[in-house]
């Protein structure tokens, strides 16, 4: 037994050094040399500061202004926001698109709260898009637009969702719809190897491309 205890301790210490220190450090070295940008998080920099990642959705909203032109606050003193109509909107997030603290929405299939939140998402989506897509019905809203993503920062929306939002973005930005649709297809990830996964439009990249276009 004593022999086992000594041997076991040596085994643990040695493997901790090998697998817990050497392995991740060597891997970090190789990753940084071969795919440095990706290993660092596919970061988006503007004027030298990090503003996001190509892989993470961001909150494309703006402060809600009152009649006096000043930002409105809720009871807790937080600034109220509304979706910024000149941007494509990512999927609803339970975490406020946080890349610092992540958690699952945990909305069950038979929870009344799930129904209520889904209803809210639907209503918000219709309110934003209907002025530009008259006659848009709730049953035509794609599921990704009215459900929480798992990560809270899902950067992709479905093609159907992007097609609806394109009409609004084109109108607000006074761009030809065809140009916006072109940008959408440039920022669409298809199925991997033509088979795997679901096509998705990367909202973060698409909005960056739109801002480039404006310049």
């Amino acid at each position: 037994m004593r022999k086992d205890l000594i041997r076991g301790s040596i085994v643990l210490v040695v493997f901790t050094l090998l697998l817990g220190v050497a392995y991740p450090l060597v891997m970090t070295g190789i990753a940084q040399v071969t795919f440095g940008d990706k290993a660092d998080g596919s970061l988006i920099r503007q004027n030298g500061t990090v503003v996001g990642s190509h892989l993470l959705a961001r909150d494309f909203s703006r402060p809600l202004l009152g009649t006096d032109g000043k930002p409105k606050h809720d009871a807790d003193g937080n600034v109220l926001t509304e979706p910024d109509p000149k941007y494509f909107q990512a999927r609803p997030s339970a975490t406020g698109y946080s890349a610092t603290v992540t958690y699952f929405p945990n909305r069950g299939p038979n929870q009344a709260s799930t129904r209520d939140l889904t209803r809210q998402h639907l209503a918000a989506y219709l309110a934003l898009e209907r002025p530009y897509s008259p006659g848009l019905k709730a049953s035509q809203v794609p599921v990704d637009a009215a459900t929480f993503s798992a990560s809270g920062v899902d950067p992709h929306i479905s093609k159907a969702n992007a097609a609806i939002q394109a009409r609004r973005v084109a109108a607000v930005r006074k761009l030809p719809l065809a140009r916006v649709q072109e940008l959408i297809s440039e920022n669409t990830a298809g199925r991997a190897l033509g088979i795997f996964g679901e096509p998705g439009v990367n909202v973060t990249d698409l909005n960056l491309a739109l801002d480039q276009e404006a310049r």
């Binding site: 795919f35 660092d40 892989l55 299939p109 038979n110 679901e198």
Partner: protein
């Protein structure tokens, strides 16, 4: 759904093609044959034996093997607990995190040493990079290697022909599994994952983006069927699983060892048909679970339909229950993941399981109810399956009225008792602990959802921890972070943490001891020549019997619990 089933089918073809190859390679590693890595790894291997002061040729009987296994695991819990308690003084702690509550540390330490990777903590908000790398990832390797080592001992016991009762040397097995199997594949996988966009940096949070050395850990997390994510939302987070390709690549990593081991077994006992029979049994149960969960998830949920959302497929949108799922994986990629991670004991999730449909949520529970024997955890899956094989042989023997024997060895009362303990013990603790959690006031604070989903949360928690899976209906809480990240002012639910920790330790080591005892007993038995009355164990008939035994024991034990949770939900459109 055609595209969905197509991608699932292509994936299955790929892993079925790869499994016999990796299985053969592993068989050569376990029998000390030369493999292509030998020139590269052998010097390091010999060096490690010298440092460990191990004579690799010294065989251990089952008691010595079990003692070494328990010592390494026990010290592992202790070391990991100490690492988690001392976060304040760690190097590689860019965000200056302190330690969480003690009971949370106990839960986490038990969780990683038992290959469970149940997570009450949120990785990016509570753990330093040092804890992740030197604490958790080390146990991701070692717990996987321990599981495989115990399986190798059982395979040797079954295959033994000389009757000296020796099962091999634990330290040697551990070392060879790490050096020849886990490290090479994990290293290769790390680079593939980084190429897809998975993080691998020692830099901490930049802007408001939490970061760390994720890919190296992600690789072994999947390969070792561990599942503990660097981030709280695990493999749904783009920094852990950025693309549809990485999703399928990670699924392959999860399945590759458990699906290959039956072929390793076939070679070691000298009959590849035995390996194919077990693989086929596993595959049938797996295929059914994939199909059920995919069809269920494509249907959508009552809450969504009552809200007026259409979950039908139309041009540009695949429809289905996308709540708590990611667009890039889609319903098919998330459903396949749900099935793969719960037939194997991988606690990784790429979608919020609590948001699955009622029927969809039943699938992971049923998979765990089979005691993780369908592919299962690395090593642990096949040794649990072999317990069921022995049980099926025994039941088959009773039906035809002959002394049951398996591969020439008589299965006698002593083995059947041990097999019963090994196969039924986890079910017992699941039911007892769930009952305690839902019927006393101590379990209440952990529950998040109203109605049957609240019961499902509790049941899932103990089912998952006892079977060393680690996935969760994540509303179930053991830890609350009231303030900013870093554990200051954090609270824990001591009952959930301590009971969970005990569940994981018991669910891991009691069956392991039973398995090693069976191995020791079989290793001593003389081989009887194959007679006319011997029931063959390499035929479709036997596979059919085996499926029956697994489903009967697994599912029937839990039927009342299934009824109270997921079945109620899938039968009603009522909301709670």
């Amino acid at each position: 759904m055609t595209e969905g089933f197509l991608q699932i089918a292509v994936f299955c073809v790929i892993f079925i093609a790869a499994a016999p190859l990796l299985g053969g390679y592993m068989a050569r590693v376990f029998t000390d044959e030369r493999v292509f890595l030998t020139p590269l790894v052998a010097p390091a291997e010999r060096g490690l034996y010298r440092v460990f002061r191990v004579d690799p040729e010294e065989g251990q009987d089952w008691k010595a093997y079990a003692r070494s296994m328990l010592v390494v695991s026990g010290l592992g819990v202790l070391l990991l607990f100490v690492i988690l308690r001392t976060q304040g003084i760690h190097p590689f702690n860019p965000s200056d995190f302190n330690s969480g509550p003690w009971d949370l540390s106990f839960n986490t330490a038990s969780s990683f040493v038992t290959n469970t990777n149940w997570q009450f903590y949120g990785g990016e908000t509570t753990l330093s990079n040092f804890s992740q790398m030197a604490g958790l990832a080390v146990q991701n390797f070692l717990s996987a290697a321990v599981g495989i080592a115990v399986l190798v001992a059982l395979m040797r016991g079954i295959a033994a022909r000389h009757g000296d009762g020796k099962l091999g040397n634990f330290y040697k097995d551990l070392t060879r599994i790490v050096l020849y199997i886990l490290v090479p594949i994990a290293a290769l996988a790390t680079i593939v994952l980084v190429s897809q966009g998975v993080l691998q940096t020692l830099g901490g949070t930049i802007g408001d983006i939490a970061r760390g050395p994720v890919a190296s850990q992600e690789a072994i997390k999947e390969l070792g069927t561990n599942g503990g994510g660097f981030f709280n939302v695990n493999s749904s987070y783009p920094f852990e699983n950025p693309t549809a390709f990485s999703n399928y690549f990670e699924l392959f990593l999860i399945l590759c060892i458990p699906a290959s081991l039956p072929f390793t077994y076939g070679r070691i006992v000298g009959s590849r048909r035995q390996g194919w029979t077990i693989f086929a049994t596993m595959f049938v149960l797996f295929a059914v679970s994939v199909a059920v969960v995919y069809v269920a998830e494509q249907h959508g949920t009552p809450a969504q339909h009552l809200a007026g959302l259409s979950t039908d497929h139309f041009s540009g949108s695949a429809g289905g229950n996308l709540e708590g799922k990611e667009q890039r994986f889609g319903i098919a990629g998330s459903s396949l993941w749900t099935a793969v991670t719960t037939v194997t004991s991988t606690g990784a999730v790429n979608a919020g399981f609590e948001s699955l449909t009622g029927l969809g949520g039943l699938v992971p529970m049923a998979n765990m109810g089979y005691s993780e024997s369908v592919f299962g955890g690395v090593g642990s899956g096949l040794y649990t399956m072999l317990l069921f094989v022995l049980l099926a042989v025994f039941i088959g023997g009773l039906m035809v009225g002959r002394t049951p024997e398996y591969l020439g060895k008589k299965i006698e009362p002593h083995e059947v008792k041990l097999v019963s303990i090994g196969a039924l013990f986890t079910a017992l603790i699941v039911l007892v602990f769930t009952a305690l959690a839902v019927s006393t006031k101590y379990g209440g604070p952990s529950i998040y959802a109203e109605g049957p989903n609240g019961f499902s949360e509790s049941f899932y928690a103990y089912l998952s921890q006892a079977n060393n899976n680690g996935s969760a209906f994540a509303g179930y809480t053991g830890f609350l972070q009231l303030n900013a990240p870093g554990n200051v002012g954090a609270l824990s639910v001591t009952f959930a943490n301590v009971m969970g920790g005990l569940t994981m330790l018991l669910g891991r080591f009691v069956p392991m001891l039973a398995v090693l005892a069976v191995a020791g007993s079989l290793a001593k038995k003389k081989v009887a020549p194959l007679g006319l009355g011997t029931m063959r164990t390499d035929t479709p008939t036997f596979a059919f019997l085996l499926v029956g035994v697994i489903v009967l024991i697994g599912a029937l034990t839990f039927l009342p619990a299934f009824l109270l949770g997921p079945v109620v939900q899938s039968l009603t459109t009522r909301l709670f």
